[in-house]
Subunit: 229 residues, 2 copies
DNA sequence: TCCGGCAGATTGTGATCACATTGTCACGAA
DNA sequence: TTCGTGACAATGTGATCACAATCTGCCGGA
């Protein structure tokens, strides 16, 4: 676990607690922490080479954002995924992300669109190369770049919280079903954006979420759940 | 501002930072902090009679939950409401709360229903007595009791974050339009629950949100915005 | 009158330490 | 062997302090 954090991912201009937060956040989003694993303040501090304070603040912030879990023992751990929680996450994503996408649609200019196309190309490249971690980061970048175009101050943080909760599990999922199976719904979204078709964009985002969250059958989900607990 | 916090609202069994968080959270939800007001760590610590640490943790947690705002100066302040943000909050509430209500509907037993009816009676009493703060707390209790019946681990925190963001502004709104104007959509919801009518429940919650968020006309909203800034 | 700059006060950040609670593991009795 | 029980280690919480950045108010010059 000591190699879980890449020092290069730590920012340099912000405070130490911000750097610690970004490091942990990226690690969580990439699924580098196995669900159920306990994270200690001193362990994180040593891992990042800081004192207790930045590690403590970063951990508590991630707990507040529901990326980490605060056990009754006051210890912090990576939450385990349950079938009920996964289903809830899918429902929440379906409620928020198509809404954010449609609201952002009028604000997407050509510059933003080309950026989205570039990210999509990187996604395809990552998939072709089998680079799971890069795929996860770029897939997240695609969605958040799209939603952020609407400059939502409210929806974006909610969606980011959902992705933080779903991130660790997506890595497990991809490892099981294989990254090659992932099909690219993003081209449909890009096509809908160029046509300024709100309904098509909504359907594309919905389809992408359903593909991502529902590609595992219920039986496999239960098996993962039992194996995880 | 020193009388903003009621010591009786501070819990006794939890950690100091948890007590500080609950105190601040209640104060924010009741709108006791005016938007734009700056909150300092030392000020909160002195207000609560603790050292810097619990105040710091509570403030940062509320920032993470979007109840408070972190200015570029690294100072914490109560966010000002803008027309765009209010509209976004309404959209997010409309996306999440009817969903949470419908999902909770099958799990609402008679005990929960009677509790909801009791809370609704308290809401009416608070409205009749003109007790704004009690109305705000009980109105929040009604919604969250309803949603919590579904034992959502994902939707509830998202909705709580939205209420934390909307709370300070609701107090201002009620002060302007007068509490007597508020009409009670909760009876429709209770009726839908007893009939196990999911669609009617969805419509009742949607109506309640629209009444609450839209009762101010756009012109008054703009006036408030300009006055606030 | 107005604007720039300087000194003091205020504030957030980070580090370090003390302490109570909890977890861990070996030892010994049933 | 198995289950308590004790001591030791590990951990979170909270307090206090140092320091750099920021804010505030005053003064002097244009």
């Amino acid at each position: 676990m000591s190699a879980a954090l890449n020092p290069a991912e730590r920012g340099c201009g912000a405070t130490l607690q911000e750097q610690a937060y970004q490091s942990l956040r990226t690690a969580i989003m990439c699924g580098r922490f196995v669900p159920g694993h306990a994270l200690t303040i001193r362990g994180i501090a040593e891992m990042l080479g800081t004192s207790l304070m930045p590690a403590r603040e970063a951990l508590r912030r991630l707990v507040a954002e529901r990326a980490l879990e605060l056990l009754p023992n006051r210890r912090v751990s990576v939450p385990k995924m349950t079938p009920a929680r996964l289903e809830e996450l899918a429902a929440a994503r379906l409620a928020l992300e198509p809404l954010a996408a449609v609201r952002a649609l009028p604000a997407i200019d050509t510059e933003c669109l080309t950026q989205l196309q570039r990210i999509d190309a990187e996604i395809d490249a990552a998939l072709a190369a089998g680079e799971v971690e890069r795929y996860l980061l770029k897939n997240q970048a695609f969605h958040l770049t799209l939603y952020r175009a609407g400059h939502s101050q409210v929806l974006i943080p909610l969606i980011e919280s959902l992705w933080l909760q779903f991130g660790p599990f997506m890595r497990m999922m991809l490892g099981r079903i294989g990254a090659s199976y992932v099909l690219d719904r993003h081209v449909e979204a890009l096509d809908a954006i160029t046509r300024r078709d709100a309904l098509a964009l909504r359907l594309a985002i919905e389809g992408d979420i359903r593909d991502g969250m529902g590609s595992i059958g219920q039986e496999e989900l239960l098996r993962l759940y039992r194996a995880g607990s």
